[in-house]
Amino acid sequence: MLLGLAGLALAALLPAGAPQAQGTPKEIVIGGTISQSGPLQGIVAPFVKLAKAWEDRVNARGGIPMKAYGKSLPIRFVIYDDKSDPATTLSFYERLATVDKVDVFIGPFSSGLHNAALQASVSHKIPFFMVEGNDPFLFKDPNPWRVTGLAPADKEQTRMVQFLSKLGGLKTFAILARDNLHEKESAKGLAEMLSQAGFQVVYQETAPADTKDFASIVLAMKQKNPDAVVVEALAPPSNIQFLKQAREQGLNPKELFVSHAPVPVIKGLGPSSENMVSMLYSFDGDSADHKEFQELCKAAGFEPWQYSEAGIRYRAYRRIEDALERAGTLDKEAVRKAMWSTDLTLFGEEQMKHDATGFGTDMPYPVQVHDGKYVSLWPIEKGLKVHRFKDGKW
């Protein structure tokens, strides 16, 4: 202990860091964390490889052209494991700022972890490219150092509602949201959009994050006899438990919609997962971006449908590259300005822009489980042909 304290004191007396080297920068350092362990690992762990694949690809074509330095600079990701924990996330973002001296931040997964990470952006004045973080709570206080590519959480299910409006055959909805930052907002927005589209929300409740037994909630839903049941839960445990007990208690809706249902959820349900509808940040198409995205996923060792958030990551990489190129320099203020003025067309048809608050325009697309795999239900015309109702069959 004494040695420890003495060591700390000694470490503190050492100079804070080597003085800044003058001259042109040699590379662009992009820093962030990815949950490689903990409850969120199943959703984003391979994204470390995804980032590497992107890094290799960009550097293979010479890097990003930087006007101010008269040449292209290679990029380098520095990614730590935040263990799905907010405190760890903040520590690492602090470290990225002070020790790794990154040029820009790329966000972690989930609004919760963004909440922690963003604290580092203000104190260190480093442009923060948010990724999977879109809750209004994050945008309550103005912060010029961060923007997100995603549309606000309460608009997240827009495309789903569009699809359902065209689909027909459903009238009443029961919505259960996990009591957490993101899920509440998303469920609220969904309920509003459904009502506006002429659907009827007959049940809408929030369950505490540590609910383990959903029998009572399922029973309450059954009482309302909904056509469609919606579960808004970010990470597996909640949805697996709910779904298994819905099956057990005999809740047999015509349509089952689970906002986030990665492979472990599909596996946990077995054949009962058939025709479950969910959301993914990618859709079928053959634009150049589609091809690039698929190649990157392949290089990272997975299929796009297995990791729903991969599409957001890809869009974030593109935003970063675009902003850096337009800024032409690594001066943080210039990058920050360029970050806000993104205007990109991705995947042939998506307009990527930011509004005055800092939100973007990214929204997920509906998909459905066929034979244990996700099949895209977008574009709508194609989706309508492929879609099958769950019809209460588990």
């Binding site: 490689q36 362990s37 903990g38 409850p39 690992q41 199943g42 762990a45 009591d179 409740e205 929030t206 369950a207 505490p208 540590d210 609910t211 383990k212 037994d213 029998a215 009572s216 909630i217 029973l219 309450a220 009482q223 597996p236 445990p237 697996i240 438990q241 298994k244 007990q245 099956r247 057990e248 208690q249 005999g250 472990p264 596996k267 946990g268 349900l269 077995g270 054949p271 009962s272 588990w394």
Partner: protein
């Protein structure tokens, strides 16, 4: 609220209580005999679920067979745990022993939790067996089959335990040690070995609960400690040293969560702790405690 709904909520509540009781039982047995609040109890539950999942998912074995194969292994695990980590503490003064046992079991819990997380890297963090035991129906009522199995096991358990405690040597020895470790020792009861046996049985019960849990719901490396503490609250509410008390406490909480969860899901999780605090404030040694 009509009769069917009331009945369904009651059935759900009792069955849920059964689930709690199965796992809490082992903890109560361990405490009764060794005087140790085993903070690693939930980890054994988790590990068993982990193994059952691996056995059934990777080897294709029927999950229930897997539970029957895996759970008995944990008797040995519990026995060894007691001999290695708890027995050395036996001769310490009481409050020192309690402090040491807390540290030892807490440390063990951390090791097991982190070890499980480590072995989950690159694979599923939450493990859930995709096996469905079709629900039984009784008219308009739904009887979740798996919970019925658990409940049946608990009923068997209580009956079996009662007989065991009354009619077998080991059972009588357990009673003796629970009542007075010193007295038992003076009477020639091998208290040390009884302690290990109790740990073995208790851990076996946790393992059975864990195996069934991964089929019914899921397990993940993080469920251990929160569950342990919830079970501790249950056995304390029921009254330390009383096995019927555990069942009573478990079922009471199950019913509470079932009804409150129906009326207002937001307060469902509060019920258990509210009940605990209320019970203890009115009966300082729990429902059936001495």
């Amino acid at each position: 609220m009509d009769g069917t709904l009331l009945l369904q909520l009651t059935i759900n509540g009792v069955l849920l209580g059964g689930v709690y009781t199965l796992a809490a039982f082992g903890l109560s047995l361990i405490f009764g005999v060794s005087g140790v609040l085993n903070l690693a109890h939930g980890e054994f539950l988790m590990l068993s679920g982990f193994l059952v999942f691996l056995v059934s998912d990777r080897l294709g074995i029927n999950p229930f067979v897997a539970v029957a194969l895996v759970s008995p292994l944990f008797f040995a695990v519990g026995y060894a745990f007691e001999r290695l980590l708890i027995r050395p503490l036996a001769l310490r003064k009481e409050h020192v022993r309690l402090a040491s046992a807390t540290l030892v079991t807490l440390g063990a819990a951390l090791i097991l939790e982190d070890g499980a997380a480590f072995f989950s890297l690159g694979t599923e963090f939450e493990k859930s067996v995709g096996y469905f035991l079709p629900t039984l129906r009784l008219g308009p009522l739904v009887l979740p089959s798996l919970k019925l199995v658990v409940f049946g096991l608990v009923a068997l358990l209580i009956a079996g335990l009662a007989a065991f405690l009354k009619y077998t040597y080991v059972g009588l020895a357990v009673q003796a040690v629970t009542q007075s470790p010193r007295g038992a020792l003076l009477n020639g009861v091998p208290t040390a070995r009884i302690g290990a046996v109790a740990f073995g049985i208790g851990t076996f019960l946790a393992a059975a609960a864990g195996g069934l849990e991964v089929i019914h719901s899921y397990v993940s490396p993080l469920i251990g400690l929160p569950l342990t503490l919830k079970y501790l609250c249950i056995i304390v509410m029921g009254g330390l040293g009383s096995f019927v008390g555990v069942a009573l406490g478990g079922i009471l909480i199950g019913l509470g969560e079932s009804f409150v969860g129906f009326l207002n899901p937001a307060w469902g999780q509060t019920v258990a702790y509210l009940l605990l605090v209320l019970v203890l404030l009115t009966r300082p040694t729990g429902l059936l405690g001495k």
